[in-house]
Subunit: 359 residues, 3 copies
């Protein structure tokens, strides 16, 4: 693992007046580039050939420099890393980094300074560490059952390594064995979780260690920037009722819709964000930096249950390139999460605290 | 009941150049404070300790003065009322006033001038008066059945005094007796309504008695500011199909999503708003003032059915702190319902008509 | 059919400094007027008496000139056409033109210059031509079955000439005969399509033949302005589960909700738009001009299937009077599809290319 000190010594060589904000062209890159441009940064995108048209189609979010690669994993190549460092790049990571490159590879081989605390990617990408983090924060999480015999009530069955929720299913614990058999599976192939009934709210937070005005958490400030609901294939299953077409039983995310919470639930939502920040500062100091998301389910009988945490910008923030129903309460300007990141880097440069937000 | 004249004589003592807009910190308070600040008012919030973090987290919507109470019902205390009056407060009421303090208590004991016609709260909070109002407006409403024997077709069964729709259920009239028995209930415990099939649209109106340009209704103007759809626990019940988990059968509202209507349906929607205003002017002159909401269900065979009316700002407007898909057609600036209220108060002060919009 | 040359010779007589943007008052007229006003045009609306209140209620979208008619079909009358031509009107067509006047009538009898290529209305309003267009573009479309015996798997059954999706239903192919019988129908009464499982995304494109910067397609530029999901009666069918109320089985559209796609799916989405433009340029040169919409369904196993194409502005764009989650990536100003049209007309006038976008 590349230690933070090594990244910092690379950063020491940077011309901080000429920083380039870079990312791979996927996930939330449009938003990141758009925000960086507004905040006055040069931008650089690592792009696959068949996606170039997306950035041509959106000129205000098109990176100033576009480097074509055959696979996103080329990001780890010596030459490309060297080029990024020469261009004073700070890389903003998003979901596609974990998906296409892998958290461990980034920590072991990627020497280019990245925005945020890259250690948090490890905590996100390992399910058991994620649960440890949420337990440390004392948040309610779905129970996980070691064996079929332990399972109780309604369970949600996930496949190891399944991409995007394909093949996941809901079952009654007492019918689980039968259901697995019907799918030619055994308990070893799956993760068995408590199925948590409720309404999904994906809460987009931002933690700034350098801002202090606002809601103080640790020595920094916590912001609730927005929220969304993910759209999965299963979300139209009801449209063929009374028939139920099995092809709908797929939890792959294809998009997002905007959503807000009742104001009376915001105190609990913000409280959860604060606990997650504090737990991260204890578990992997200096803890989470920048955007993160709590994937929750709310039921009036139980409050919120957190079933997942994303330790970086999430795609649901793409709904809000010029602000959400919450950002006007924090900022006078249109503020996306992408712009928020760029602004944070700009401010950190201005006050000489860039190292605090880079690893 | 405190007569309007008494409130007006208190208002007579106000320094109208130093008005403070006040509300209790819940429901739509962020929006109300944010709007009031933009319109140049001082703001004051009555807050519970465990909710203070919400207003810290949103500095642009944080009230200038924050008074901590142990319960919102303290609003009725002599001391607090005196303080609010001393500070030239005009209180903007929302759903939490009815929920935590009660319409009757406000009318009997709250001497602080409030924005709007407080009588309308009584008409909102009593189901039979609400239906009388909607009938007077000649709007289609769900039938209400006095007994199980009268019930026909599909019925929606509500519990007296149930908070947030917990335990409500849908049934076939002929199976109603059986369904009640299965829940250990009798007909006395419930309200039996026609179940109205359709798509829900919650229409947010604003009635200004002092503006005249635009759509004239009575001697004032009607605005359709926005609309939303409420999110209730039941709204994810389909996600476990073919299983149906009873825990989803709960109609508690936890949030909102933005929505628009076909333009061809706006004429009918606006017409309903106009009828409600006119009926209110007949039933409790001067009638409804400021924001109100019609909770409707639309079906192509029947048009709109109104199943509820809210005689004040609704939480669905929180989706639109800088405007909805409809406000750009009325205002040049970003306009929320909260800001609309503040602007109305400002204009009323300017043209010397504050009494017309205060009770 | 009135040839383009005849329309152009009428346009030749226009005072292009005094152009009026006109449409019939329905569908997306508020958006079209609002956009035209911002771009500095005079506006004219053809309106039914009972809809006038809509435009009074939205003063910033109220046409400068309002002509009342008893039926929208009066648009074809000699007098009205003459008046529109005298006022230098360019008519922006939308869904209500097809619904109330008919594509063929417009082509045969409407001499007033219209924005876009009116031939595309014919390709939109004839289902077989629509499918030919989509096939030419090599997009995946739902299979259509000539007879019950050909049908396989899940099918979607549509009624000839049914307004708004009333009576449509989903069935298993092997049960189709029984299902038709239960409805007193025969195969002749219906269109039998493959039922395509997936999440619906309605993609709003804009093709400019006069802009070249951005994503070049043919000799012009393609823009992806926004997307929505239509709300149909069936979309609340799950709310009475475990009961299923047949009255919900209706596919009439009553409204729209905002939505975004995963960034990784945008390349495919934009590619589909480009193919549709190129196919149109081959099938009916100069092809589609201005706004169009692809009604799609996305499934992770199959990608997008296009089940319909609208060759003009769609009502889903009404969600975005001051821009969508995508327009900030193309424009610095708040940009609706209505404003985009007006801006295109303005630019075409400025650079002397008005004929290129008018038929």
């Amino acid at each position: 693992m590349i230690p933070r000190s090594e990244i910092w010594s690379i950063l020491d060589e940077y011309d901080v007046k000429q920083i380039t904000i870079a990312t791979i062209c996927s996930h939330s890159a449009l938003q990141i580039f758009h925000g960086a441009k507004i905040e006055g940064f040069r931008t650089l995108g690592i792009c696959l050939e068949n996606r170039k048209r997306v950035y041509s189609a959106f000129p205000k979010a098109k990176p100033d420099i576009l480097i074509e690669v055959n696979a996103f994993s080329e990001l780890l190549s010596e030459n490309l890393q060297k080029e990024l460092i020469e261009k004073n790049c700070i890389v903003v990571m998003h979901g596609s980094f974990i998906e296409y490159i892998g958290a461990k590879n980034i920590l072991d081989y990627f020497r280019v300074p990245t925005y945020g605390n890259r250690i948090s990617l490890i905590w996100e990408s390992n399910r058991k560490m994620q649960m440890k983090w949420l337990k440390e924060a004392k948040l309610r999480t779905p129970k996980e059952y070691e064996s079929i015999n332990d399972a109780k009530g309604w369970v949600f069955v996930k496949l190891h390594g399944a991409k995007g929720g394909k093949g996941y299913f809901v079952a009654k614990a007492e019918e689980l064995e039968k259901e697995l058999k019907a799918r030619n599976m055994s308990a070893k192939d799956v993760i068995i979780q408590e199925y948590v009934v409720g309404q999904r709210y994906y809460l987009h937070f931002f933690y700034s260690p350098i801002e202090t005005e606002g809601l103080k958490v640790g020595s920094g400030r916590l912001e609730l920037l927005s929220m969304d609901r993910r759209i999965e294939t299963i979300d139209e299953i009801y449209r063929t009722l009374p028939h139920i077409i099995p092809d709908y039983m797929d939890f792959t995310v294809s998009g997002n819709i905007p959503i807000i919470l009742r104001e009376s639930l915001l105190a609990e939502a913000i409280g959860m964000g604060a606990k997650v920040v504090k737990a991260s500062q204890k578990l992997f100091p200096p803890g989470i930096i920048g955007p993160f998301c709590l994937e929750t389910s709310y039921h009036p009988d139980r409050g919120f249950t957190v079933f997942e945490i994303s330790a970086r910008i999430v795609a649901g923030t793409n709904l809000y390139p010029i602000g959400s129903p919450y950002t006007p309460y924090i900022f006078d300007e249109p503020m996306s999460t992408g712009r928020r990141i760029a602004r944070e880097i700009r401010k950190a440069v201005e006050i000489g605290k860039l190292k605090e937000i880079v690893y």
